[in-house]
C-alpha cells in the first residue's frame, strides 16, 4: 500500500544566532537541515518542540536559501519561549506557505511601502528582494513607523537602505521618551504620507503592520487615489496548519494561510473583520 508524504512534519533547523532588535523584538537566524527556498511574503510555521507552533514571515532575503531569519515580537506563549533562546537550539520549520508579494506587479512601477512596528519583518524580505532588482523598479519610498525610537527595529539595515540610489526612507515614532535621541518625524506613520511625492497612477503600495495601522494606512492610500487593486496588505490571522485546512485563519471565504497572507485591498474589502 502506498504511503504519502507527511505534510505535518517539519524539517529541523538550528538557531545559529539571536539578534536583539528592540526590547520586545528579536531576530533568530535559522540554519535549516537542507536548503529552504521561499518567496518574499510567504510564511513558515516555526515549531518549538513539544511547546507550540506559530507562523512567521521570514525577514531575510529570499535570495538566500541556506539560512533565514525570522523576527519575532514577544507576545504570546510560543514567542515568550523563543525569546529565551540563546543560540544552538533546534526548532522545526514547515513551509513555505501562502501567496507572497507579487514582484511582477511591482516591476516598472514606483513602490510605496508602509510599515509599522514588527511589520517591518516581512517588508525587510521584500526590500532585500527589490534592492537586488532595483533596475526593474522606478523608485521605492519606505515609510516606517514605530512607537518610540527604542522600538525601531533593523537600525543597521535602515542605514543600508538609505544608500540604495532609488530608495527613500522616512521614519516616524509616536512619541520620544525622555533621554531618547530622535531627529526624524514624530506622529503616527500615516503622517509621513503627507511628506512624500508619489506618482499614484504608476504606483503600487504595500502595507504591513498592526491591524489599526493597516486600516488607517489603507484609508489614507485610498484618499491619495491608490486603486483598491494596487494596495497589497499582509494579513495577520491565526494561521495554524498553513495548508488551508484547519480553518483557524478564515476571513470570510478566504483561508489567509493559503489564499494570502498577501491580498489586495480589493480582494478582501468585503470580507468580515479584516482589521481584527
Amino acid at each position: 500500500m502506498k504511503d504519502h508524504k507527511n505534510i505535518y512534519l517539519p524539517i529541523k533547523a538550528e538557531v545559529t544566532e539571536v539578534i536583539d532588535e528592540s526590547p520586545t523584538i528579536k531576530s533568530f537566524v535559522l540554519k535549516p537541515e537542507h536548503e529552504f527556498a521561499f518567496k518574499t511574503g510567504q510564511f513558515i510555521e516555526l515549531t518549538l518542540d513539544n511547546i507550540g507552533e506559530a507562523p512567521f514571515t521570514p525577514s531575510s532575503s529570499p535570495l538566500v536559501t541556506d539560512e533565514m531569519q525570522v523576527t519575532i515580537m514577544k507576545t504570546g506563549y510560543v514567542t515568550d519561549r523563543i525569546h529565551e533562546f540563546k543560540g544552538g537550539e533546534i526548532v522545526g520549520i514547515r513551509g513555505p506557505y501562502g501567496r507572497g508579494y507579487p514582484l511582477e506587479d511591482m516591476f516598472g512601477k514606483e513602490l510605496l511601502v508602509l510599515g509599522g512596528g514588527c511589520g517591518f519583518a516581512p517588508l525587510r524580505s521584500l526590500l532585500y528582494n527589490l534592492s537586488a532588482e532595483q533596475d526593474k523598479i522606478e523608485k521605492l519610498t519606505f515609510c516606517y513607523g514605530s512607537k518610540t525610537p527604542g522600538e525601531c527595529i533593523f537600525k543597521p539595515y535602515i542605514d543600508e537602505l538609505r544608500q540604495v540610489p532609488k530608495f527613500e526612507v522616512l521614519r516616524s515614532v509616536d512619541k520620544v521618551e525622555e533621554g531618547e535621541e530622535w531627529n526624524e518625524d514624530v506622529g503616527v506613520v500615516t503622517c509621513l504620507l503627507d511628506k512624500i511625492e508619489v506618482n499614484v497612477p504608476n504606483s503600487v503600495a504595500v502595507v504591513c503592520g498592526p491591524p489599526i495601522m493597516m486600516k488607517f494606512g489603507t484609508y489614507k492610500l485610498l484618499e491619495m487615489g491608490f486603486p483598491e487593486d494596487k494596495i497589497y496588505l499582509s494579513m495577520e490571522k491565526n494561521m495554524s496548519c498553513g495548508l488551508g485546512k484547519c480553518g483557524h485563519c478564515m476571513m470570510g471565504k478566504y483561508f489567509v494561510c493559503k489564499d494570502g497572507p498577501v491580498f489586495t485591498y480589493e480582494e478582501i474589502k468585503d470580507q468580515p473583520d479584516i482589521w481584527k
Binding site: 504519502h4 507552533e53 514567542t79 522545526g92 491591524p211 490571522k237 485546512k245 478564515m250 470570510g252 471565504k253
Partner: protein, 335 residues
C-alpha cells in the same frame, strides 16, 4: 439506474463473515435507540441495520478521527469496508475530499483511509425528525461517492457496483454467493421506495427555505437573531463535531516535532484569536453566526459541494436545543 444484483440476505451475511479476516468492516448497528457505525465481528453481522436513517455520528468521524497522532501516515493493515452510508454523508465526503485531497497539500492520513476503503452507500427508507436533505436538492439515496449501492429487501439484498473498486468487490462476492441480476420487479420496488421517501421528506420540510435562499437570508440578517438564538448556545461545539462537513481542527505539538490533530470548532472561544490579542469571534453570538455564514455563504463561494447536506445532526446534538431550521424559517418569515 445502474445495474443491481440480487443475493439472499443469508448469503450476504455468510460473505461478510468470510470477509472479516480481510477487511475491517464498519457498519451501522442499533443500540439503545441509536444507530452508529460499529466494527463488526462475526457475531455482529446479523445486528447490522439496513436502509435505516442514519448513523448518529457521520462518516467523517471514521475518516477524520476526533483525535489522532500525525506521526505516521502508513496505511491500515486491512482495508475498510464501510457499510450503510447514507447519501447525506456521501455528499459530505465530496467536500471533505476537496479539503483533504487538495492536490497542493493532500492529507496523507485521510488519503490512506479513503484509498483503502470500500464505501457502500445505502438508500434511506423513511427519515428521522430533523432529516431535510431534499430541501437542499439531495436525494435520500446514493447518487455519488460510493463504490457500491446496497439495499435490503426482506430476505434479499440488492447490490450495484458503481466504481472499479466496487466491481472488484462484487466479483469477489460472486465467487462465494449466488448472485443474479435483479429483475424489473426488484428495480420497481427500489424506485418506489425512493419516491416514497422523497415525497415524505418534501412534505415533512415543506416550509423550509432551500439552500441558496437560506444563504441569502443568513447573509442579509442582522445580529439580533444571532443574539436571540445564541442565548441558548453554550459553545460546546457539538454542532461542528457532529457535522459531516465541518473540517476544522487543532494541531497540538508533541515531543519530537510531531503533531496531534484534534477536531476543533469555530464555536469555541479564541478559535480565531491571534497572539497579539485580536479576536474576530470574541463574542458568543459572533461565533454562533460564523458557523451559519461558513456553511451557507462562504463555503458555497469557493466549493462546488454544499456545506450542509441536510442531515439534521446539529439539531439533534445541540444541548441548548437550538433548531437551525427554525432559525432559518424565522429569517424567512421576517424577510
Amino acid at each position: 439506474m445502474s445495474d443491481f444484483y440480487r443475493l439472499t440476505k443469508t448469503d450476504w451475511d455468510s460473505a461478510l463473515r468470510s470477509f472479516i479476516s480481510h477487511y475491517t468492516i464498519l457498519a451501522p448497528v442499533e443500540e439503545e435507540g441509536h444507530i452508529d457505525y460499529t466494527p463488526i465481528d462475526e457475531e455482529d453481522v446479523e445486528r447490522i441495520t439496513y436502509n435505516k436513517p442514519k448513523p448518529t455520528t457521520p462518516l467523517k468521524t471514521l475518516l477524520l478521527p476526533v483525535k489522532e497522532s500525525l506521526a505516521d501516515p502508513s496505511s491500515p493493515e486491512n482495508p475498510w469496508l464501510i457499510m450503510g452510508i447514507p447519501a447525506c454523508d456521501l455528499h459530505a465526503k465530496s467536500l471533505l475530499d476537496q479539503f483533504y485531497l487538495d492536490p497542493e497539500y493532500p492529507d496523507p492520513f485521510y488519503k490512506n483511509r479513503t484509498e483503502n476503503s470500500i464505501f457502500i452507500g445505502t438508500d434511506c427508507h423513511g427519515h428521522q425528525e430533523h432529516c431535510h436533505c431534499t430541501s437542499y436538492g439531495f436525494k435520500p439515496y446514493p447518487t455519488a461517492n460510493d463504490d457500491i449501492h446496497l439495499v435490503r429487501h426482506g430476505t434479499d439484498v440488492y447490490v450495484s457496483p458503481v466504481t472499479e473498486k466496487g466491481e472488484k468487490f462484487i466479483e469477489k462476492l460472486s465467487g462465494s454467493t449466488n448472485l443474479s441480476k435483479c429483475d424489473q420487479s426488484a428495480i420497481d420496488w427500489i424506485e418506489s421506495k425512493r419516491k416514497e421517501t422523497v415525497e415524505d421528506l418534501d412534505e415533512h420540510n415543506k416550509n423550509l427555505p432551500g439552500y441558496e435562499k437560506s444563504g441569502e437570508l443568513i447573509n442579509a440578517s442582522d445580529e439580533e437573531i444571532w443574539k436571540e438564538y445564541g442565548d441558548d448556545c453554550v459553545s460546546c461545539g457539538a454542532c461542528a463535531t457532529i457535522c459531516p462537513t465541518c473540517t476544522c481542527f487543532l494541531l497540538i505539538d508533541k515531543p519530537g516535532l510531531l503533531k496531534q490533530r484534534q477536531v476543533d470548532a469555530c464555536q469555541y472561544p479564541a478559535f480565531e484569536k491571534v497572539a497579539a490579542g485580536e479576536d474576530p469571534l470574541d463574542a458568543l453570538h459572533k461565533r454562533f453566526s460564523n458557523r451559519y455564514m461558513c456553511k451557507y455563504v462562504w463555503r458555497p463561494e469557493r466549493f462546488e459541494e454544499l456545506a450542509c447536506t441536510g442531515c439534521g445532526r446539529c439539531i439533534e446534538a445541540c444541548i441548548g436545543g437550538i433548531n437551525k431550521n427554525e432559525l432559518i424559517k424565522e429569517l424567512a418569515n421576517n424577510a
